[in-house]
Subunit: 133 residues, 2 copies
DNA sequence: CCTCGCACTCACCCTACGGTAGGTACCTTA
DNA sequence: TAAGGTACCTACCGTAGGGTGAGTGCGAGG
């Protein structure tokens, strides 16, 4: 992502979103929170991710210090990925957000699956009808 | 964003990230958490956002039900944006993440400002010949 | 009269994010 | 001998996310 890279984050949220803002990043964290996993396992767990993206995101997460990469120099290559304490703390910080998303996910899915309502009938030129949150 | 749009979210985190995953979304939420603000105010608060993105993100957040848009039909147009209860709950859910980011933001900034280390000396493809383990 | 500010809209452009496909070095199994 | 698995790398390519700049309708200020 790197939305505001190479300059100061405003409130910390930027930083966090920056770390976690890839397409598969949160899935990776989520999956790794179950425990150590190797590359192929992750690939199978995420199901749909391309190897390129998996590696890329793993590298970024490693670089950010949230995942640990352990290479075993054995004949069929074996690499274990796991969360660092940093990553665990990140996962903890993400938990409320996950709960929020879980709680409202059906609603959000519904919104996103509507064929684009464009329900701005009451825009700058219509009756200010009663709306409710 | 819409990383996995029109299909089920895996763990709720996807959904949340989807809502909040724009470049300025979290900043918007953060800014709006201070209270009702009008368009120009937001523009000045975020400082650097283009009007297009501001509107776009505001629209998306409105569509997701996290911000409320109130149009006053006065001669110089006046539009007030505020958080809905939904948005407030989202902000609450984001707070730990913000705290996490705040706590580690210097570290993350440092990582992101390093001119790309590529410190993988012991990789799988480092020494092409001498690797018999 | 000209311009500015508000709150947008529209058109164009460019980057980077993400996907696809093919290749690598080594060993195991059929 | 061929196929397959492991953990990658590399090049190419399409799209969408984001940026720039102009225009709009209206009143206020210089």
């Amino acid at each position: 992502m790197s939305k505001s890279n190479s300059q100061s984050y405003v409130c910390g949220l930027d930083a966090a979103i920056d770390v976690v803002g890839g397409k598969w990043k949160v899935l990776l964290l989520w999956t790794l929170s179950e425990g150590e996993k190797r590359f192929g396992e992750l690939k199978r767990c995420l199901d749909g991710v391309s190897e390129k993206m998996l590696i890329q995101h793993l590298r970024e997460l490693e670089r950010d210090g949230v995942v640990h990469r352990e290479v075993h120099h054995v004949v069929p290559p074996k690499v274990q990925y796991s969360l660092t304490e940093f990553g665990v703390s990140l996962n903890d910080a993400l938990r409320p957000l996950g709960a929020w998303g879980c709680e409202h996910k059906t609603r959000l899915e519904a919104i996103r699956n509507t064929p684009d309502d464009t329900s701005d009938a009451e825009d700058l030129a219509a009756t200010p009808a009663s709306r409710s949150a």
